[in-house]
Amino acid sequence: MTSILAVTEQRDGVLRKVSLETLAAARQLADAMNGGGATVDAVVFGEGDVKGADELGGYGADRIQTANHAEFARYAPDGQAAVLEVLGRSADAIVFAATATGRDLAPRVAARLGVACATDVTAFGVEDGKLVATRPVYAGKALQKVRLTASPAVLSIRPNTFPATEVAKAGAIESVSIPEFSRRVTVTGTKAPEGGVLDVAEAPIVVSGGRGLKEPANFRLLEELAAALGNAAVGASRAVVDAGWRDHAAQVGQTGKTVSPGLYVAVGISGAIQHLAGMRTAKVIVAINKDKDAPIFKVADYGIVGDLFEVVPRLTEEVKKLRE
């Protein structure tokens, strides 16, 4: 029987939203393979019950395989790779999310299984029983199609690309026996800023700022706009990250993150080629810039030419009105 593993992620005992996207991609792959005869097994790592795991059946999981271990309360690369190595031997494909965890874990599992791995996949099809995956390279300046010839096919999908889809399946819960493993790395904890911060790579809306903001303190304008929009993260251009105004975690572009949000608002960003590469797959792009010839307007769906210090506060105000 053909089976696809969907590797989910949890933090603090709660399933991460991106896992439903991983599952949607795995379901799509299962339906494309073997005339739709493949099953999807969602793998859940945890110390005990993971909140949200029991709902995976509603999003396309035929089975929910829970791997419980005291060390799996946190990310445990060696132990989790060992579990997936065992499960992967009888799977036809293993789907991860291209998150910090997925990017760490997928290549480990692929190496253990002796197979190649396709990172950051944005679309795929099945040709002659082999997975053919599309993935942005050169930070999105080009699209590469690769055929995964070995089995299992190991891939990670880009967040915000495969929407979570409600598909009712059995979602039978089974527990996985944990193989012996040697722990080489110990994750000792996570440090999150208070209130938590939405990551630019996963946020449905990204408001990004560049040098046009003139000084770091002015990012407050973008934070206010993001707060009014809700579900929004504040991103930054390379120029302002290199200048030390914003943390690298917020950088969008070729040496930062490549993002595909539903809405991307570029404020005071001229649109260097390496920045455009990182955000051109956003569904809707808005640009606010005082220079009407700025390259950012070439990729923007909607542009406003003007002083951002007048436009952005007004936009925040209008969004607040709309949200009321």
Binding site: A142, V187, I285, Y302
Partner: protein, 249 residues
């Protein structure tokens, strides 16, 4: 402390991509090649760790064609002691490259093997952790803060909206994130010295891979957008369009 850095030669990030005649790679005409920016953090970390230790060796490795030698000289000019080019043709997949590095690095007694967290051309994020698995070494990826004391590594890596702290012992494999350090620029003296540093070229036979590139294409152009208006007065129109036409609000 004996440290290896695995370096990749990549097109400069300002490169405008033109698809090559073969339809699976880029046209390299006029393209400027540089050390992969993330690998520069690895080089800086290697040199400064060696400096702190006061003893040891920092060796740069690369896999590719002869053109990689020039890129490796940049690493030597920054302060790496010597280089080894694993000479091989083509664009092998991540696991094939990892196998070649693992075979070369095994039994060499390295305390640390450093990579960039990814290459800015193929975006794979793979070769570091794959090499670590093949060598059965501990591995921490995308390291943004690093401390190495008495054979123990403490590292933070960026995860979504937080930092994740990990620890392991030497020997280990790390991949480096932007922000780990500020890579030094090669000085004239370093550039002159680099010309005389040993750079060994070793032809290697590679395994067959499991990833065939079918095609490389430019992304579709975005549909033409429009300027909604000028200044703050255009904002209500913008919001209306986002709500009714784009359905993004």
């Amino acid at each position: 402390m004996k440290i290896a850095v695995c370096l990749k030669r990549v097109p400069d990030t300002t490169t405008k991509i033109v698809i090559g005649a073969d339809g699976v790679s880029i046209d390299e005409t006029g393209v400027k090649f540089v050390p992969n920016p993330y690998d520069e953090y690895a080089i800086e970390a290697a040199i400064s760790l060696k400096e702190t230790a006061g003893t040891g060796e920092a060796v740069v490795y690369s896999l590719g064609g002869d053109a990689a030698q020039e890129t490796m000289r940049t690493a030597l000019a920054m302060g790496m002691d010597r280089g080894v080019l694993l000479q091989a043709p083509g664009s092998p997949d991540g696991l094939v490259i990892a196998k070649a590095f693992a075979a070369e690095l095994e039994d060499q007694g390295f305390d640390l093997v450093l990579f960039g967290k990814m290459a800015v051309d193929d975006y794979n994020h793979q070769v570091g952790p794959m090499t670590a698995e093949l060598l059965a070494l501990p591995c921490i990826t995308a390291v943004a803060h690093l401390d190495v004391t008495d054979g123990t590594i403490t590292a933070d890596r960026e995860i979504e909206g937080a930092l994740e702290s990990s620890t392991c012992t030497l020997p280990a494999v790390l991949t480096c994130e932007k922000g780990l350090n500020t890579p030094r620029l090669p000085k004239l003296k370093g550039i002159m010295a680099a010309k005389k540093k040993p750079l060994e070229v070793k032809p290697v036979d590679l395994d067959g891979g499991g990833l065939e590139v079918v095609s490389l294409e430019l992304p579709p152009d975005r549909p033409p957008g429009r300027i909604v208006g000028e200044g703050a007065d255009a904002v209500p129109d913008l919001v209306n369009l986002l709500r009714t036409e784009a359905k993004a609000l």
